[in-house]
């Protein structure tokens, strides 16, 4: 475990080195969020209603602000890294080393996620005085604990999903194209563009049981106290079951892929 924690610390320190890139990325991502918020403000204003589908304007703004914060814990880069390792033959150098590539990538990108979270959180704190009246703050101690567990769960689920997709490179020459296609669907199904409540009623319950909902939609609902502790705990059990399913799938695909791997360029 010490070696993974050491890599975690090392990559976290590396993240702090590229300050210009950090600032540029921060501005870009927040402008996108700002546009979404303005758009929703327009929707509320033009309809002359205070509540749409159970969301007040403050709820909607809070949803997008906290979602942007929670989405920093989606670990997708591990999948892209393993995909390029397989493609260019670098995997050969890694599999002979005395550590698990899966764990190594998890800790590496967890450090990145933590850095992104701190960055985004500091930025939001900085601008909070300007929009604090538009935010809802209804977090209980129980919800806060559950929320932290959810965020940890989201890091594991997202890492396992992306790793699984990255391992498609064992069979496909252009696995990254598959991954980008999947990224679009995943963003949609995780409620990045609109909260899942806005989807047709019949699909909401199904989507909530899918692992993508754990990334930001369910944590945001917990934060806004729109989900009871019992419901939250029930969904958490479902997502933990998803972790076991994904771990098994990862193991099966890894074993099958390792047999197929031919170390091109290695």
């Amino acid at each position: 475990m010490r070696k993974y924690l050491y890599s975690f610390k090392l990559y976290l320190l590396t993240s702090f080195q590229y300050r210009f890139d950090t600032v540029l990325g921060l501005i870009m991502s927040n402008i996108s969020m700002f546009i979404t918020i303005i758009f929703w403000t327009l929707i509320y204003r033009s309809n002359g209603t205070g509540v749409i589908n159970g969301y007040t304007i403050a709820d909607m703004i809070t949803f997008f602000v906290v979602s942007s914060l929670f989405r920093t814990f989606i670990l997708s880069s591990g999948g892209f890294e393993i995909s390029s390792m397989i493609k260019n033959g670098d995997l050969s150098k890694v599999i002979i080393k005395p550590y698990s590539i899966n764990m190594f990538l998890y800790w590496k990108y967890l450090s990145n996620a933590l850095f992104e979270f701190l960055k985004q959180f500091s930025f939001l704190l900085l601008i909070a005085p300007f929009f604090v009246q538009y935010l809802t703050w209804d977090l209980s101690v129980h919800s806060a604990i559950l929320l932290i567990i959810y965020l940890v769960t989201a890091t594991v689920i997202s890492h396992l999903i992306w790793l699984l997709l990255g391992m498609m490179a064992f069979w496909l020459e252009q696995a990254q194209a598959v991954m980008w296609s999947f990224a679009v669907i995943l963003n949609f199904l995780s409620g990045m563009f609109i909260p899942l409540d806005f989807f047709p009623r019949w699909s909401v319950k199904v989507l909530e049981l899918m692992p993508f909902a754990a990334f930001s939609y369910i944590p945001a609902k917990l934060y806004m106290n729109q989900l009871s502790i019992v419901e939250g705990a029930y969904l958490l059990i479902v997502y933990i079951l998803w972790i076991f399913v994904l771990m098994t799938l990862n193991l099966i695909v890894w074993r099958a892929g390792a047999k197929k791997y031919s170390a091109i360029g290695g």
Partner: protein, 262 residues
């Protein structure tokens, strides 16, 4: 004729490249179509709960969204791969080769590779747009369509010129890949109705400084009989302005350019 022959050869070469990487082409095509369809679904889902947004009905909003996708896909299909090659060539020194060729540099920056998957994925928004136009109560004349096409071309010119203007910073800062984020922001703004800008001054800033309004709002409004002459003039002036500015910026940049490889 000379430039037309060059374009013909570029189209042929890009097609040969597609024939080699067929799997990648199909996957990229699927990704583009999925992207368009999911975006349209988002609009549909919002309208389950509201009747109109700032005077835009569901069908009109989808037409606006599709217009934005069309402009985006034309840019991605015809221009974006060449802009990426251009900024890469400045840091690698490959820009030298562009300078020694007996072809206009601005022409070279904007043409060469064609991404056929982006162009083919235009089918999805075009089909949806036709269906939505059919479902509208208003009558759309041939003149509306003509104006739509003219201002669609103007939108592509604005987007191309604006991005070229930004990428000309590569002559000074070398690595400017981070600026691609502005393109995504611009496209995200263009698919929203111009009414998101409450003040007229702010709206004009998004015509002449960050040109998001002329990209989809102006052509879609003209198609839907919602356009006005000041809006058309502003969009046309914005197109000319950005075209001239980008050409000047590239020329100035070339004077500053010192090869990275020598």
């Amino acid at each position: 004729m000379y430039y037309l022959n060059i374009l013909k050869e570029q189209i042929k070469l890009s097609f040969m490249s597609v024939a080699i990487f067929r799997a990648n082409f199909i996957l990229m095509l699927l990704q583009s179509i999925t992207n368009s369809v999911l975006g349209i679904l988002c609009v549909e889902f919002i309208y389950i709960h509201v009747d109109s947004i700032a005077g835009w009905s569901q069908n009109e909003m989808i037409i606006l969204y599709c217009t934005s996708i069309i402009v985006n896909q034309i840019y991605r299909g015809l221009i974006n791969p060449n802009h990426m090659r251009f900024i890469g060539s400045i840091s690698s020194g490959g820009f030298d080769r562009m300078l020694v060729k007996p072809v206009n540099v601005i022409f070279q920056i904007n043409t060469s590779s064609i991404d056929y998957s982006s162009l083919l994925s235009l089918i999805a928004p075009l089909v949806v747009m036709c269906l939505k136009i059919n479902a509208l109560d208003i009558s759309i004349t041939g003149f509306n369509v003509l104006l739509f096409l003219i201002f669609l071309a103007n939108a592509v010119i604005i987007l191309t010129s604006f991005m070229m203007l930004l990428y000309s910073l590569a002559f000074k800062y070398i690595k400017v890949h981070g600026l691609t984020g502005i393109y995504f922001i611009l496209m995200s703004m263009s698919e929203k109705p111009k009414e998101i800008f409450s003040y007229k001054e702010v709206m004009y800033a998004f015509v002449f400084l960050i040109p998001s309004v002329p990209l989809a709002n102006v052509p879609a409004s003209l198609l839907l009989n919602k356009g006005n002459i000041p809006g058309m003039i502003a969009a046309a002036v914005s197109g000319m302005l950005f075209f001239l500015l980008s050409a000047v910026a590239i020329k100035k940049g070339i004077r500053k350019y010192s090869s990275a490889s020598s």
